[in-house]
């Protein structure tokens, strides 16, 4: 592989890793410690050196292994959602393209902005959890239920506020039903 295409392939690797949500979560939240960003750069360069240094037959299983072990050893992250296989496949395809001097995929990646929303959205739920549940077990199901509860709570309050001024009209309904307004503060218990 020519050095020029190797450098462009290196850029391509960095772009692919920048769009890998699991790795970006790890770097942004510091799952690998203070030097998580440096570890990300080392990760990219070690992937590039694997591609350029190993002899002819490149197996995708080896690449998946390298990605997986790197995430566990450097970022303490076990990735079980299948994204490792997808990233490895993308890298292998990009490598074959670069061997044939076809840099279209890299250009396409560079022009389309990476989605940073996924990582920041995940952070929001975690903050809500931390605020409410300090004694919660880090049980995954418990976290899920708490987050759903948190999201649902603000809504019914708004509905209650909007409904209060309405049912004071005493005009009959379609079928002749009258709305009886509630007697608030009419029967004063405490003088």
């Amino acid at each position: 592989m020519s050095p020029e295409s190797a450098t462009r392939f290196g850029e391509g690797i960095a772009l692919v890793l920048a769009r890998w949500t699991a790795l970006q979560m790890a770097v942004q939240n510091g799952w690998g410690g203070r030097d998580s960003r440096r570890k990300e750069d080392e990760f990219a360069s070690s992937v590039l050196s694997w591609f350029t240094n190993t002899n002819a037959p490149l197996y995708i299983e080896d690449l998946e292994n390298i990605l997986d072990e790197n995430m566990v050893l450097c970022f303490n992250t076990e990735i079980e959602d299948g994204s490792v296989e997808e990233v490895a496949e993308q890298l292998m395809i990009m490598h074959e393209d670069c061997l044939q001097d076809n840099f279209e995929s890299i250009e396409k990646l560079r022009n389309s902005t990476p989605t940073k929303n996924a990582a920041s959205q995940s952070r929001q739920v975690a903050n809500e959890n931390e605020g409410e549940s300090s004694n919660e077990e880090s049980d995954e199901e418990a976290e899920e239920e708490v987050s759903e509860m948190m999201i649902d709570e603000p809504k019914p309050k708004e509905e209650i506020v909007s409904k209060e001024p309405k049912p004071k009209e005493t005009t009959p309904d379609e079928e002749g039903w009258f709305v009886v307004s509630t007697k608030r503060n009419r029967g004063k218990r405490w003088a």
Binding site: T21, A22, M25, A26, W31, F43, S45, S46, S49, W50, N53, T54, I66, E69, N70, V72, L73, C74, F75, N76, T77, E78, I79, E80, D81, G82, S83, S122, A126, E137, S138, D139, E140, E143, E144
Partner: protein, 125 residues
């Protein structure tokens, strides 16, 4: 008696005491620096059920969300659930060897090599 690990099995330097955390598996108290911490990235729906959920889904092309959780294991649970493994005396010393194919001529091994620091816990082989 011999020392099994240079750092004593935990990552406490310059402190007298660290607070404990509870193991996420068994609830055992374990010092925070000694616990084996792993971040889990999983799909909320397991692989086998993905197709069923997608068929029952109202929205077209709905990407299923993922679950990000931090698991803190005590040493017993980590070994029992195969998060970490027992290593031989020489293997215990490698802390972070992610890459076996590093270029020899590169200055790619600044903190590696004959550093006698022992790993706090055995890593996955």
């Amino acid at each position: 008696m011999t020392f099994k690990r240079r750092n004593g099995g935990r990552n406490k330097h310059g402190r007298g005491h660290v607070k404990f955390i509870r193991c996420s598996n068994c609830g055992k108290c374990c010092p925070k620096d000694k616990a084996i911490k792993r971040f889990l990235v999983r799909n909320i729906v397991e692989q086998a059920a993905v197709r069923d959920v997608q068929e029952a889904c109202v929205y077209d092309g709905y990407t299923l969300p993922k679950l990000y959780a931090k698991m803190q294991y005590c040493v017993s649970c980590a070994i029992h659930s195969h998060v970490v493994r027992v290593r031989s005396r020489t293997d215990r010393r490698n802390r972070e060897p992610p890459q076996r194919f590093r270029r020899r001529d590169d200055t790619a091994r600044p903190g590696q090599g004959p550093r006698p620091a022992g790993a706090p816990t055995p890593a996955r082989t």
